[in-house]
Symmetry: C2
Subunit: 209 residues, 2 copies
């Protein structure tokens, strides 16, 4: 398709498409003449991913450019690409300053997940996020809080994810046809649902007393 | 206690304490002389609540002042005070513009929770948050998405909250001794735990395939 059709079908303006190409977020089209290029479904998918990262995840153009560069690395498998996108979502907050308390919490979180039998990459940014939460909890509740305090949340998270990634839940997350932007949507869009329902469940359960 | 001791025990500086009194967040002390006043445990509790709302929930001084005014309303019961604090946490985002799509989603969310037997106030801000999430999901997935798509999240939320508010989980949330700032901590501090574990569970379950 020509750039005009790419713009129409993606809902992204032509100047913005050209900007994304200049910044390296979007590969250029296949040259078909001195002033013409042809674009493909791959360009549409990439624009959808860029919009999801920008509008839903709130990432900057430079952050999105880094993600795209990693995804476009020759030989990157789909699961690796998905991990790149997922990591970008978990690493959105600035990394907390390293500290002995954070190191200890990170070690505790890793051991705890190992006990549970969860297989996750030791460098997954979400681990750092959890360790950072544990540091705060220890500071505000009691210093010896074990990572095992996460148990009810881990159980619930695993149940949710089993449904999300199951046959009937496939629509919501990681449906291959939804592409990499499906990872962004599936991860981010359901978070306010989960948090909102937890808050309402507090009201419901307290009110029953 | 004198203001110096209140400052030392709360970790809030004397000028800040005086600022909070001027702005109506903190009641003045009991006058014991022309330049002296006595402060009580109630002042310590209030300062802890103010810090939690400011540092953990990121609320502005004027938002905190409104919350304090509601809490201090004569005759406010503890459960009402807790609802005021919880609502402030759910209403942090600007209310989305009213629209027919939002109205319809709100109606669907209310009916769905009614089916589940959840008793929540029809004006709870978390309902609006859920309806707003449903509007986004419908726009990005498919327009007829029913509120019943929330089912796995509602089930998980109820399980979590049953533990949180149970005997052994009382430490984490709504422990009366933790006071109203316990509501803020208990609500907010565990949210990154839940979201972080969901993200790691995605990695774990996808990796097993």
């Amino acid at each position: 398709m020509r750039i005009a059709e790419l713009s129409r079908r993606s809902g992204v303006s032509i100047p913005t498409i050209k900007f994304y190409i200049r910044e390296g977020l979007l590969p250029g089209g296949e040259r078909t003449g001195p002033n013409q290029a042809r674009y493909s479904q791959g360009h549409l998918d990439r624009l959808a991913l860029i919009r999801a990262l920008r509008d839903l995840a709130g990432l900057s153009v430079s952050a999105i450019a880094r993600i795209c560069a990693e995804i476009d690395r020759p030989g990157a498998a789909v699961l690796e690409q998905m991990a790149v996108v997922a990591d970008a979502l978990s690493g959105g907050d600035a990394a907390p300053a390293e500290s002995p308390a954070l190191e200890a919490a990170l070690e505790d979180v890793r051991s705890y997940l190992e006990e549970l039998g969860w297989k996750v990459r030791p460098e997954a940014p979400a681990l750092l996020r959890l360790a950072s939460a544990l540091v705060t909890l220890r500071a505000l509740y009691y210093p010896e809080m074990p990572a095992g305090a996460f148990a009810p949340y881990a159980k619930a998270a695993l149940e949710i994810v089993t449904v999300e990634l199951g046959e009937r839940g496939a629509l919501m997350l990681h449906e291959p046809a939804l592409g990499l932007e499906g990872v962004v949507k599936g991860t981010i869009l359901w978070e306010p649902v989960l948090l909102g329902l937890r808050r309402l469940a507090h009201e419901h359960v307290l009110g029953r007393r």
